[in-house]
Amino acid sequence: MGMTMTQKILAAHAGLESVSAGQLISARLDIVLGNDITTPVAVNEFKKAGFNSVFDKDRVAIVLDHFVPNKDIKAAEQSKQCREFACEHCVSHFYDVGKMGIEHALLPEKGVVTAGDCIIGADSHTCTYGALGAFSTGVGSTDMAAGMATGTAWFKVPSAIRFELSGRLPKECSGKDVILTVIGKIGVDGALYRSMEFTGEGVSSLSMDDRLCICNMAIEAGAKNGIFPVDDVTMKYLENRCEREPVVYTADDDAEYESVINIDLSKIVPTVSCPHLPENTRPASELHGVKIDQVVIGSCTNGRMEDMECAWRILRGKKVKDGVRCIIIPATMEIYRECAKRGYIVDFIDAGAVVSTPTCGPCLGGYMGILAAGERCIATTNRNFVGRMGHTESEVYLASPATAATSAVCGYICEPTEV
């Protein structure tokens, strides 16, 4: 029986000819990732277990992104612990303030991850790198500690759901509308333990930023990973960027899928996920007029260059509605720099928005835009659980950068008409 793309990558990393769904394997890891929240727990476990070296200093990535620049003394202590560990073990991919970015925007940008990789990260959105044609999945800190020590991890080989994409997205839609539509269709555990494999002739029309956004939220459907085939768009993105050679895996023609879901991209509409679950999706037009207090444009889901460009097209020369706070957070220093170079930051400020250096901050209710009781935010982030961005009586609506920026100008949720 044939293998899915994910199964092919796992088999190769387990040193096996083939694997099948449900099989328990031990796989070799190309990259092990952690951030300033999950790494301290991993470091404690790593030390407690008596390990004294990492398996490969070039295969461990530690990114300070959740609470940096440090939000308080405790966060500073956690950053310090990460910094000391990275220094002690000569971790080559250690990214501190000034070089850092939100991990899932940063690692692809820096070429740390590539096609064909097997990656674990102590952050649930590690599934993002499937956009490059890699197997990549989120784990906890103990798995990170074990991965850093041994260079391997255990996996249960997942079955897969195939998403057959056709057509082309309307101008006002982006990858975010695609993944919100998918989650709305299958639910927050619709792909539990499974791979989400995106295929079909529609793939070629999706930019790398769209694909990264789509794979990023695979976890919001409960999936183990999301993955795209490697095509010209991927190869062009990886060219001159990646330090290791990409390896291209393709699904077998007779690969078995639990189900196949057809998505006509041309039928996608601007979509918003209502509180308090990502599956509560509705067309943005049905929510027209819902008043908002805050807008957040950024995160590992939508803080990339295309997202900034989209927000800029809508906000330039306009004003954020009085009474609305608009917070824009480019996801990496490179994107931040490019926004400055292109003059976006001045235009954002003139529109009445604030622009922060990269941080996960508000997305997880850490800092930089916490909501009070009764407040409502439309955000390009990935979760809208109770209390996610602040008070348990606050509300988060998830949307694309186009919908969020349009809403910032209107002061209420509004579908983008032209981008």
């Binding site: 103990t142 074990a146 555990d189």
Partner: protein
């Protein structure tokens, strides 16, 4: 291995943000974190929970973030185990890796009521509802995972394997 205690019952899709809100994640100190266990879904949980008590929930328990702090605070509160209809995959993995007993049993999760007294046998997967006098059977773990649990978590099992290997090499 077993536990006996009273039930705290919760709905479907209990996410890691309500189990341990991110605003407290500026420390990795388990005792400090545990003061906020379940805070955003049940502020009284930490005041009421006693050693051996059992969390019973619906589908997709522990969805959301990969934070290991979530199973860690539940374990640190001395909760005996979590019974759910299903678990989100990272939470499931983390619970096994840190040695928090979890059981998947949709029938038990449906029937057992908040405040009931239950007894759980981890070896057999038997869940006894003492209040209603009913018994349920959870799916046992595959042997590979049972070995991790028996060793006391992933790192302990890795250490065991390493020791075995180096003894073989001697």
């Amino acid at each position: 291995m077993d536990t006996r205690g009273h039930v705290f019952k919760y709905p479907d899709n209990v996410d890691t943000d309500v189990i341990i809100p991110a605003r407290y994640l500026n420390t990795s100190d388990a005792n400090e974190l545990a003061k906020h266990c379940m805070e955003d879904i049940d502020a009284e949980f930490v005041n009421k929970v006693k050693a051996g008590d059992v969390i019973v929930a619906g589908w997709n328990f522990g969805c959301g973030s990969s934070r290991e702090h979530a199973p860690l605070v539940i374990k640190t509160c001395k909760t005996g185990c979590v019974i759910a209809k299903s678990f989100a995959r990272i939470f499931y993995r983390n619970a096994i890796n840190i040695g928090l007993p979890i059981l998947e049993c949709p029938e038990a999760a449906d029937a057992i009521e908040n405040g009931s007294e239950v007894e759980v046998d981890f070896d057999t997967g038997e869940i006894r509802d003492i209040t209603s006098k009913k018994t349920y059977k959870a799916q046992p773990f595959p042997p590979f995972i049972q070995n991790i649990i028996k060793a006391g978590g992933l790192l302990a099992s890795l250490k065991e394997n390493q020791t075995e290997k180096s003894e073989e090499n001697m």
